[in-house]
Subunit: 499 residues, 2 copies
């Protein structure tokens, strides 16, 4: 009998009519029943007369299912077995307070990256991207369903999401780029999806899943010359229903309603709320949901928002506000855009690896999370932040090192503890995990630090070089003691109480 | 006949009684008359039966003077000639809008440093300090009249300001240091100054004057084990009158009422206002006046405050608020404490030379001014920020380079102009100086920047490497043009319009 692992994907399909417009005229759905759940999910038309429905089982054991629809042959039924989750499969992501945890209870410390348009690149580039990701630098990837039109991004995507004809990209360049594209010359049927585009995108989601990387799927974005950012409400809703039907069964999916929602000039807050409502209704697995700003933060108190997906609002101080935003929103704070390592002309894409790594630490030591991107000038205009490809920077290895430190947190997650004005002190979120501290000094360069602990206590002390990626034993101490440091930037001291 | 240069010091003395307490029982004053001014100033008792009065003439030409007092022999008279100011003598400092200008009209671009207790060090250290200062890194020095008690500062000063016996410094160390010293064991007569202490201090003022360095004289500060920070109102007033009588004639004096006024626990705002009133009344030359904070800024809108003397209030964003504070106070903004280059344990004293230099540029490009200090761990505890001595850091040469750039500003002073979010653009304060811009990129590392100027305009472009201290010609351009940059931090581009 068919079997699928827990939190895997069970997919079934039927053949049906391909005439007319199956995307809007035909309905197809599935109902899945196990001992602990009964789930009804929408299916989708995948082209060539094929109708599919996908399901992610949340429990082990025997399941039955039935499908139905408004066409002949839609009605089927069957059964399958759900086996235990395989290695590396911890289920979909959940939120616990200001932190993330996989459904199986394993803590998740987000160290994300961004390759907005990697799903739309030629296969050779995509392969390189995956090779880099295989090195384990990151465990979240932000990327867009729609293709991207922006500086360094004028080539056509490999596929388009709709049937139709795109405007030519001839003559496009940084010199002629404008944020206010007109969309003249495009000819799309916004009621007919191009299944190949979505299959391609799903392949990316699945490849990330295989690498243990969460897929932060961006549904809308403003960097557009085709009109996908300016569709009608009906067209938007049709699209959102289509992608939720297709993608929701992938356990690693997060819904990012938009990149820089506030630059999508034709959408109002009510549009985003309506779209969020559709996702809440159509995604039975309740994947994470957020919406990313350019200037103004969205109102992250909205109940449908599971975590804050933030772009920094100031050039100089941003991740240092993490504790403020945790307090304000009571949700995980993810700094998805805090400038990228690189050397392009724009200030959002030309900071050093040291500075980006510092921002990761500043965010993480306050119990928040940060996101990476890379923007080095490249002869063929292949920049990681958009295309993926090869990494050239110094921060990825340091981010992986940070993740290894975060993974040693007792309990679930860190928060900012009491410290001197010139350090960030991270302590476990859960007060019962007392006795674990990381003192991070950022751009400070102390040659030593004094600590004041209880007499007779035994604190195991380590000196962490966050840039050179070393952890050195500094002995066991109690009472007042001094820890020598190298007088360099980016150092931390970790203390663990013997109990 | 006696002659003195304009803005020099004319000093005359009489012999009088030394019995009783001349500091409080005897009055002595002088009246100085030239064609353009008549000035009455208080004299002071200098010990050993000698009474002195000093005068700084503001005009050239013939002067007469008379002295008087409440003792026999106080009455004298005489005349002297005031010759033109000598080389390097530009008169006392004045404020013009948010900038400084010498009385002779020469712009002054403040690049300060701090050696709080250099006046109280052994002669060998003082000489080294002066050798370093001779290299022209700085044009302002902050230092204290009273000796200093603080970490790295437990040795007794060479002299004390009062007659009496200090508490022993035996057993003092960083381990026993506390901000809340008791003053037990001191035995001072706060009505009897020690003239030697003040002569020593005046020598420092004069030595700075000879080097073209402004003396930012700190009258009170909290780092004390002798009780000088906790005197009575009467004692404070006597002290302020004594130092104004002694120091006001030095043209390079600025009055800093306090370092970290808000840590002087026994003083109220009304005390500072009273002290300010005495200075306004007793200093006929109207030297600059300010008061420096630890936490809360003093109310710099007070009319007696000529400029803002600020310590940063946040670890991450501070000099970047320069334009805000200029707008709020309408006075020069001087960031006297923004962390020092060094490697001691404290966050206020362990940033890199790069970061301190960046802070100088960020302040200066917004039409403000910054201050240097240096705190490297030293085997004999000789740290520039307190003792002077030798400089070990990398920032002083860069600060001197910045000053050379500032000195090329057309008109008087810079302000923040319109720029992209990722740059600080400095333009001349005076709009009639249109056609001069410095674009500073701070920690950004652009490989090029595009500029958009009028077609047919001729902009002379230079690339400034603020760290490597180079200015490279980048040609003459108009319309839209691109300037290549090295993709390193701390670069700037200067543009000058040919007119």
């Amino acid at each position: 009998m068919t079997s699928v692992e827990r939190w895997g994907i069970f997919e079934t399909e039927v053949r049906g009519p391909s005439d007319g417009n199956p995307f809007v005229e035909r309905e197809f759905k599935g109902t899945f029943r196990g001992e602990h759940e009964t789930v009804e999910v929408s299916g989708f038309y995948d082209g060539d007369g094929v109708y599919k429905v996908r399901f992610m089982p949340s429990f082990e054991g025997e399941y039955t299912y039935s499908t139905d629809g408004n066409f002949d042959g839609a009605r089927t039924e069957g059964r399958f077995t759900v086996t235990p989750a395989g290695e590396g499969n911890h289920g979909p992501m959940r939120v616990s307070g200001c932190h993330f945890v996989y459904e199986d209870g394993m803590p998740y410390y987000s160290v994300g990256t961004t390759c907005y348009a990697w799903a739309h690149q030629p296969e050779a580039v995509r392969k390189k991207t995956l090779e880099e990701l295989r090195k384990g630098y990151f465990n979240k990837m932000r990327f867009c369903v729609f293709p991207k039109h922006y500086i360094h991004n004028f080539r056509d995507p490999e596929t388009f999401p709709y049937e139709g004809t795109p405007v030519s990209n001839a003559g496009l360049s940084e010199e002629t780029f404008t944020y206010f594209a007109d969309f003249t010359g495009n000819d799309w049927d916004f009621t007919r999806f191009n299944p190949e585009h979505f299959r391609r995108f799903e392949k990316c989601i699945a490849e990330l899943m295989a690498l243990g990387i969460e897929a932060d799927v961006i549904l809308f974005h403003p960097y557009d010359r085709w009109g996908f950012s300016q569709m009608s409400q009906e067209q938007d809703d049709l699209y959102v229903k289509y992608v939720t039907a297709r993608f929701a069964a992938y356990r690693n999916v997060w819904w990012s309603l938009a990149n820089e929602y506030d630059l999508l000039r034709t959408k109002k807050i009510s549009d985003w709320e309506r779209i969020a409502g559709i996702i809440c209704e159509r995604d039975p697995y309740k994947h994470l949901r957020s919406i990313h700003n350019c200037m103004a933060f969205y109102d992250h108190t909205r109940p449908w928002i599971t975590h804050c997906s933030l772009q920094r609002q100031d050039l100089y101080r941003h991740v240092e506000y993490t504790s403020d935003y945790r307090a304000r929103y009571g949700k995980p704070v993810v700094w998805d855009e805090i400038a990228y390592e690189g050397n392009i002309d724009m200030g959002w894409g030309n900071i050093s690896g040291q500075e980006l790594t510092r921002r990761f630490w500043e965010a993480s030591m306050r119990g928040g999370y940060a996101g990476h991107g890379e923007t080095f000038v490249h002869p063929d205009d292949i920049l990681w932040w958009s295309h993926g490809g090869e990494l050239h920077g110094e921060s990825p290895a340091r981010i992986r090192f940070l993740h290894s430190i975060l993974s040693e947190t007792p309990g679930l997650g860190l928060k900012e503890g009491q410290g001197s004005f010139d350090e960030t002190v991270a302590v476990p979120e859960n007060m019962f995990e007392y006795g674990y501290e990381i003192h991070y000094y950022g751009f400070g360069r102390p040659s030593y630090r004094d600590f004041f602990k209880g007499e007779g206590e035994r604190w195991h002390v380590e000196v962490i070089d966050t840039w050179n990626m070393t952890v050195e034993d500094a002995g066991v101490h109690g009472g007042r003691f001094r820890i020598p440091l190298p007088g360099r930037e980016y150092m931390a001291v970790r203390l663990r109480l013997e109990r």
